[in-house]
């Protein structure tokens, strides 16, 4: 590995047979030391072997070992001659984050925190057992798959301005419900409007510190203000779409003469029938996820109104996806390229003036939402020009795991973790005991260190640091 500067490292393409490009890794020295312990960088090297990759295989500072693709990886594939890989999107298609701002201050919420958390826990189902409150028909599900968050709004779950503040306005076009298997629909339909488990959560937070007042002002954020962060995805529907396509792609790869170091990297040409079909299904699953987060926002508004009365407001700041493949135009080495950007545990971070950003944020850059681990800090960033120059408009997506779930559980008791967090003023409610211990703050890298790297690298700028008051987990 070559050190380029304090936050950039390169693994040259001659490091391993089959690599078509370099790996560019954004990391500080302490992060580098951590990441070297697992196989994440080897996985980033495997991604560099994929046919049609444009630019380097990118590794963000929150990178950790995934299955096939590393989590925290970005790969841009040539739209005409490259491949699409379901593993480069992940099982949780359009896993993402939505940030809501309130007109309440931390003090007002603290005095009613327990009541609020209990209310939300009842109103927003975690669905670990697999079912939520929302019942939709098969026909409605097909509409969700093609229309995303705007469909939910049409049914009365939210307002038009909610969808305007989502990446892609909460709906990827060219989604096809018909490309999603009956099994994926069956698995996902009862789960709409549910949070999920694992690292998914809903956090009541407050703005602890504003780093960039102008951007914070544009995003409607100020110190002391209470905000809510929802981290969730496409539930069983997206998982099944990924499973379905991975199971059929093995045979298709043989037909296209593609051989890879890891079956989990399975891919087919973007322009093949299998590739097109996967993209249609993936977009449909992404739309399901946006509708899912929109439904949860609606439930949350109900919870806040119950506890604080009608004066409580919840406005959407932004909604980003961090497991997705999207067709985008970029400039690379002086020419315009048409690429399918795979973001596996990575967030889009478009800079100021970009046409894809809502008009009210265009001066500041796209809001980038980075959830930290349970009970630590989360960040709001703004996309910077550096991201367009170096990382196909992408940055990190979280703190990045450090400990396995087992290691996190070892010697820890859910009640004790809950008490420790309570002593720090953070209430936690979880549907399962494991949900708490597996996600202890110690299981993750220091989110501030991760954010510092992308800030110093000029990919995104710090806008505000958020601190939790209450956590709801599956």
């Amino acid at each position: 590995m070559e050190r380029i500067d304090e936050v950039r490292h390169r693994i040259p393409r001659n490091a391993q047979a089959g690599m078509k490009t370099d790996v560019l890794f954004f990391a500080s020295d302490p992060i580098l030391a951590h990441v070297r312990k697992d196989k994440a960088l080897q996985q980033a090297m495997n991604v560099a072997c994929l046919p049609g990759i444009v630019g380097p295989s990118l590794a963000m500072p929150d990178i950790h070992q995934g299955y096939g693709f590393p989590i925290g990886g970005v790969a841009a594939m040539d739209w005409r001659h490259g491949v699409v890989s379901p593993g480069g999107v992940g099982y949780d298609i359009n896993c993402g984050v939505r940030l809501l701002r309130t007109n309440l201050e931390a003090g007002q919420v603290r005095v009613k925190l327990r009541e609020l958390i209990d209310r939300i826990f009842a109103d927003v189902p975690c669905g670990v057992g697999g079912q939520g409150h929302l019942k939709i028909t098969e026909k409605q599900l097909n509409q969700v798959l093609e229309q995303g968050a705007p469909w939910m709004v049409e049914q009365g779950y939210g307002t038009l301005s909610d969808t305007l503040r989502c990446e892609e306005r909460g709906c990827l076009r060219e989604a096809a419900a018909g490309a999603v298997s009956a099994r994926a629909k069956e698995r996902g339909r009862p789960q709409i409007g549910t949070l999920g488990s694992g690292n998914h959560f809903l956090e009541i937070q407050y703005v602890e510190r504003v780093e960039q007042p102008a951007a914070a002002g544009d995003f409607g954020l100020e110190e002391g203000q209470v905000v809510v962060l929802i981290h969730s995805g496409s539930r069983g529907l997206g998982h099944q779409v990924c499973t379905d396509f991975l199971s059929t792609m093995g045979a298709a790869m043989k037909r296209y003469g593609i051989t890879l170091p890891d079956r989990q990297l399975a891919c087919v040409p973007v322009q093949s029938p299998e590739g097109r079909s996967y993209l249609q299904a993936m977009r449909a699953a992404a739309n399901f996820a946006w509708a899912n987060r929109q439904a949860m926002l609606h439930f949350l508004r109900g919870s806040f109104a119950q506890v604080f009365g009608k004066r409580a407001q919840l406005d959407l700041v932004y909604d980003v996806c961090h497991n997705i493949a999207k067709r985008e135009k970029h400039r690379w080495e002086g020419r315009e390229v048409d690429v399918l950007v795979h973001r596996k545990g990575a967030t889009r971070a478009f800079p100021p003036r970009h046409a894809e950003i809502p008009a009210e944020y265009r001066a500041s850059g796209q809001p980038v939402l980075i959830p930290g681990s349970m009970g630590t800090a989360s960040w709001v960033l703004a996309g910077r020009d550096g991201a367009m120059l170096e990382s196909f408009g992408s940055v990190c997506h979280g703190a990045g795991r450090l400990l396995s779930r087992n290691a996190a559980k070892a010697g820890r008791d859910a009640r004790q973790v809950q008490k420790e967090l309570e002593a720090r003023g953070i209430l936690v409610r979880s549907e399962t005991r494991d949900g708490i211990v597996e996600e202890v703050p110690e299981a993750y890298k220091d989110v501030d260190e991760v954010i510092d790297v992308v800030h110093r690298a000029g990919l995104a700028a710090k806008v505000a640091r958020l601190r939790p008051l209450g956590v709801i987990k599956g």
């Binding site: 697992d38 994440a40 950790h64 070992q65 995934g66 299955y67 096939g68 989590i71 992940g90 099982y91 949780d92 670990v128 057992g129 697999g130 099994r183 069956e186 698995r187 999920g196 488990s197 694992g198 069983g236 998982h239 099944q240 990924c242 499973t243 991975l246 199971s247 093995g250 890891d262 079956r263 989990q264 399975a266 795991r401 450090l402 400990l403 396995s404 779930r405 087992n406 290691a407 549907e431 399962t432 494991d434 949900g435 597996e438 599956g474």
Partner: protein
């Protein structure tokens, strides 16, 4: 011999399952997956189900089999109490299962398993002893 043990993986979770026959290995792998997702210790042997999966290579067959079991839990909301019979025919595996409808009170959920993956997948036989390692996406 433990039928299965849980393995470490930074982001996710895995298990190592064993069996004296391939049938037993598949059963124990299914039990490991079910154990990860929920507590099935109180599942009643009430209703029969059939399960089938296909796959050319043994590894592929195991992943497809586990994803079928997951589908049974997550979509069909059925909890196996017992695997009555597992058999192989050509590229397919078949199972006769008995269990009951999933109920969160009786079968407390542990964690949502998204899928069984091909990542670091291993199925091997040594001296009549089968062993498999599987990573689950959590």
């Amino acid at each position: 011999m433990e039928p299965f043990e849980v393995l470490d993986h930074t982001a996710d979770m895995g298990f190592r399952a064993r069996g004296t026959t391939l049938e037993e290995l598949f059963e124990n792998a299914a039990l490991a997956l079910i154990h990860t997702a929920l507590d099935a210790s109180r599942a009643a042997a009430y209703a029969p189900r059939q399960l089938t999966a296909g796959g050319e290579a043994r590894e592929e067959l195991l992943v497809n089999w586990l994803n079928e079991v997951l589908y049974l839990l997550d979509a069909e909301r059925f909890v196996p109490a017992r695997f009555e019979a597992i058999w192989f025919d050509g590229d397919s595996v078949f199972a006769q299962i008995i269990g009951e409808r999933r109920d969160d009170q009786r079968h407390p959920p542990r964690i949502v398993v998204k899928a069984a993956t091909y990542h670091q997948l291993r199925v091997e036989e040594h001296n009549g002893q089968w062993e498999a390692e599987v990573c689950l996406d959590i």
